[in-house]
């Protein structure tokens, strides 16, 4: 466990040093990561693409050379973001997943595919690492978002804010 924790922390520190979280959007982050990996990343809503699969929140599979991330879409946006970050965390941690030549191959849900489930079933060391890194990234994003919110200002007080040293820092 200690080894995993060290690996997660080192990866997280590396990301924080390389990526500017002040401008975080999922698309922007995925772009940055796909440039780093030299492979496109695509996001797919799980239910519309595959229908309901019990216990499944998201997965990552390589389909026709593209990193495809599916996420549960009928949950809170914040939860969706976390699921997407979990799958991206696998990529960041250098984990592997199953590769397919087409979406049809995926219908049988073969072993080896990276799945984020809603409970402990099929949990592993890699999943623990991905979830912990996702939580750390999520926390970092929220920290920056809060920083941005602190310095933003409602239009009603915008004029006064200029004199209160609030707007300038935004």
């Amino acid at each position: 466990m200690q080894e995993s924790y060290t690996k997660v922390t080192a990866t997280f520190d590396e990301i924080v040093a390389a990526y500017d979280f002040r401008h975080f959007t999922l698309e922007n982050f995925a772009d940055w990561l796909s440039r780093r990996r030299g492979r496109t990343i695509e996001f797919w809503p799980l239910l519309s693409k595959f229908g309901h699969k019990e216990n499944l929140m998201g997965f990552w599979a390589v389909i026709c050379g593209v990193d495809c991330i599916a996420y549960l879409e009928n949950t809170l946006p914040i939860h969706q973001l976390h699921i997407q970050l979990h799958e991206l965390a696998h990529l960041l941690l250098g984990h592997s997943t199953a590769e397919f030549q087409g979406w049809e191959d995926l219908q049988q849900w073969p072993e080896g595919i990276r799945m984020r489930l809603g409970n402990i079933e099929r949990s592993s060391q890699d999943e623990w690492e991905a979830e912990t890194l996702a939580c750390q990234l999520f926390h970092e994003i929220m920290r920056h978002k809060r920083r941005e919110q602190l310095a933003s200002i409602s239009s009603t007080h915008a004029e006064i804010a200029l004199y209160w040293d609030i707007v300038e820092a935004a």
Partner: protein, 358 residues
Amino acid sequence: MDTTVDIFSAVIGWLVTGYLTYRTRRQRKIIGKTTPHAVSEIWLLSLFLSLYFTLRVPSIAIGLDSLFPWHNSARLLAYICVGWAAWYLNSAVYRIAGRELSGWVRYLPGAMSTLLLIFFPFSLALSPSTGDELPATFLDLLFRQILYVYMIALLGSSLILFRTLQSTEKTALVRLRLIFSQVSILAAISLAFVKIIDTLFGFYLPGSSVLSFLEYTGSLLKAMLVLPWLAVYLPVRLSVPVLHAWHSLRALWILPNVRIVERKVRRFCKPFASENPTLWQTLRSPDYYATRSLIHILDGRKQLSSDSDPEVIQLCQRLDGVEDQMDIPELLAFYARLGRQMRRENRQVTSSAQRSTA
């Protein structure tokens, strides 16, 4: 102690006034527009408050008094200044809130100053300054009581508006400044109340032991008035760490309640991946662990939604009270409330079980 507090308050007052003057001039240059009325009024509030504290410094008061053939000119000016400061505060808050002041209220500071000037030759001007706060004549007492009531009325009205502004304000930094302003105003109102009691005791029971206690309380309240006033103008660079610290403290406060909900969810749905932080780790990063608990809850919320166990259905109904647009702090606040509610229910169940056993 009172003199030290007055000197300290005057220094802070002039620092704030200087800073506001610099900012106003700089922003006027950058924007090229006239200064908004509310900003000018905040500047005037600061100026009058600084003048008030300066005129309360004994050496300055004595020096000023020696220029006139009558007594207590400094005190008269100090009272006029504090009256106008309260007025400008009230007016600025009304403008920021986008409200109109009713017609007669506009004449209040002018009327108050006139009243002070009319009373002055018959009260303060006649009694040599003793350096203490005690009224020498009944007119002096009356004159001060009117001033304090006027202060309480204006400050009270400002405080109510500040509360309203705070409840609708979404920007954390502005909220922080509104909170500091309210602490300052509350201290000023309390100070006016203490002064009312102090002057009454001073006039009717000049030897009372309560007086020294009241004087000490007054000095303490002055410090409480001035420090948050300074904090209102903290630059963003300094305010943000204060807010981060506040968020962490808040997370630490709500974490036990969020964990009650998390534990309940865990009973039916073991978490996908969990950390078992030590107390030290939790204390170092409470907002991280609060977020992590929240993710477990949200996982459970989805996971258990298709379960048919009546207890799970009931739990899901309670977890479902959240809305799509809710942000992390709002979600945490929601589940912390739910956790508190669950704890109360558990306590009730335990106590009724104990009663039935007994």
